[in-house]
């Protein structure tokens, strides 16, 4: 189902991008996501899994490099286009949308390194890849440090008592990595490269982190089992282990001085992407419910003719429009200034994810018993939506960090830009 876009200034290019992304979401993502959802996590990454076909088709269309600018071979979408395309991918499947974005993190990190060797070795080949054979992951979360890692600027972030699970020590021209990352590393067990956050200076607590690039075929790297989850089962996640893994010194591209800043930047960007995907999921739930209510007869008339159902459907529509508006506003702001203002991204992420869960919940309620069965999409949307309130920063912790940001910066001054 198409939607009316309240932005009357969309260009022909914007509309073409939207149409192409919707076609991919409908014809590739939805069927693949449905299959993966019903597989075990091991089956989902086995040789014959449809996941690989999804990657091949997605890479051919360039969706894996959606976050990258054109000077390194990326798609170079403007903020509005990025929002439009991401919403469509989120409509197709939140998990797969997240999957095809997170694979670019090492390439993105190499680009931020400002190191031409890393850009040549990691970013450019990734952008040129069309068969899905180069896949990155984002190794931030740890068994003992989940959303804590998003407490930049807060006292706990600088507490030296905080010990981390993955560390690196400098030895000559190399860094030696030891430890583990938690089972929530997206794309973890299928990755060829990792953008890895490691503690390099324990005396600074979490502020003593650095970030590095790790080819996952290095000696000492091992991967855990793919995680078995209630929702977003099409998004591969799993533990990573590092046992005396040696990387060249320049692969540690973020030192502790830079780390807090880059984490804030990543949070600011990632929360905007999350809000766009969540808008797509909220829209999918709205469409499922709306279509059903226009066909299903109860009490002698269509569900849609019942007073309370009209109200409920309208609330679902309003949540979609609200989510899109706030996601686009955050994208327009934070993809047009550097550094961005994270409080606006967090507002968008929290609002859009709560809206998508509420819409998925309402869709099941409106579909009644059918909504609980695997025959209908609603139950998968509900399970997928539930995870969004936790991933990329638990919403309560984001709100706490948002409050901290307001305390520091509110009201923002135009001269801050």
């Amino acid at each position: 189902m198409d939607y009316f876009d309240v932005n009357l200034d969309l260009s022909d290019e914007d509309l073409a991008l939207k149409e192409a992304a919707h076609k991919f979401a409908k014809e590739v993502m939805r069927p693949v996501a449905k299959e993966l959802d019903q597989m075990t996590p091991e089956e989902a990454i086995a040789e014959k899994s449809p996941l690989w076909s999804f990657f091949r088709q997605g890479y051919e269309l360039g969706y894996h490099k959606i976050l990258l600018p054109d000077y390194v071979g990326g798609l170079a979408l403007n903020p509005l286009q990025m929002n439009i395309v991401m919403e469509e991918l989120g409509w197709g499947s939140f998990g797969l949308a997240c999957q095809i974005a997170v694979v670019s993190f090492p390439a993105l990190g190499a680009m931020y390194s400002n190191d031409e060797e890393l850009i040549e070795k990691i970013t450019i080949p990734f952008c040129e890849c069309t068969d899905g054979s180069i896949r990155g992951c984002w190794g931030a979360t740890e068994p003992d440090r989940g959303s804590d890692l998003l407490a930049m600027g807060e006292p706990i972030y600088h507490d030296p008592k905080v010990r981390c699970n993955c560390t690196a020590k400098r030895e000559g021209d190399e860094w030696v990595i030891n430890g583990q990352k938690s089972a929530w590393v997206s794309s973890g067990t299928i990755s060829t490269h990792c953008m890895l956050h490691v503690q390099t200076d324990p005396s600074k607590g979490m502020a003593g982190f650095g970030a590095c690039l790790v080819p996952m075929d290095l000696p000492g790297v091992s991967k855990g089992k793919p995680l078995d989850k209630m929702g977003q089962r099409d998004l591969n996640q799993g533990e990573l282990f590092f046992d005396d893994v040696r990387i060249p010194a320049n692969y540690m591209f973020v030192d502790p001085d830079f780390h807090e800043g880059i984490m804030e930047m990543l949070l600011t960007n990632a929360n905007v992407w999350m809000a766009s995907w969540a808008t797509g999921l909220a829209r999918a739930a709205f469409e499922e419910a709306f279509s059903y209510c226009k066909e299903r007869v109860q009490g002698g008339r269509l569900l849609m003719e019942h007073y309370s159902i009209k109200q409920r459907i309208f609330s679902m529509f309003a949540r979609v429009e609200t989510s899109r508006a706030i996601a686009r506003a955050a994208a327009n702001l934070n993809f047009n200034i550097s550094p961005g203002f994270p409080e606006y991204s967090m507002t968008a992420k929290i609002t859009a994810t709560e809206n998508c869960l509420q819409n998925a919940h309402d869709a099941i309620q409106l579909l009644g018993g059918n909504g609980l069965t695997k025959e209908y999409l609603a139950e998968k949307l509900y399970r997928d939506a539930r995870a969004t309130l936790i991933e990329d920063g638990n919403n309560e912790i984001l709100a706490r960090h948002g409050g901290h940001t307001l305390l520091e910066y509110y009201p923002r001054n135009r001269d801050d830009i």
Partner: protein, 132 residues
């Protein structure tokens, strides 16, 4: 003490560098092809520059323009950048540089400025600017 002793001196140096880049490298052509114009709002010393494929203009004239990308930074940060001693993404994250304009265009500027960075040490020698 600031690297650039005065606004006038900074304008003299960068007037020469930008003109050199536009006339003697592909910078102007590439800037035009990329659809980028750049504004620099420099503090210590205070200078406003606007650069497009035709070259630089300064202060009141520059302030009337609407560049695609605007970058705000201190004069010493400008100097570090041209000496290739500044990690721009890091400087952005740490607010040493504040940029307005599409982030993809901000990042795209960096490779376009390489010819100028290659020439900059010779300007440092000419104008007696430190290179440490």
């Amino acid at each position: 003490m600031a690297i650039f002793e005065s606004s006038a001196k900074m304008k003299e140096i960068f007037g020469e560098i930008w003109t050199d880049m536009v006339n003697n490298t592909d910078f102007g052509k590439e800037l035009k092809e990329a659809g980028i114009t750049i504004g620099f709002v420099v503090t210590d010393p205070d200078v406003v520059m606007y650069v497009d494929e035709k070259g630089p203009i300064f202060d009141e004239e520059a302030e009337k323009k609407t560049p695609v990308v605007t970058m705000k930074m201190a004069g010493d940060t400008v100097h570090s950048f041209w000496l290739k001693k500044l990690n721009v993404p890091k400087a952005l994250a740490l607010r040493q540089i504040k940029a307005k304009g599409p982030v993809s265009k901000v990042l795209k500027i960096l490779p376009l400025l390489k010819p100028g960075q290659e020439k900059y040490p010779s300007y440092c020698e000419k104008y007696n600017l430190p290179m440490d």
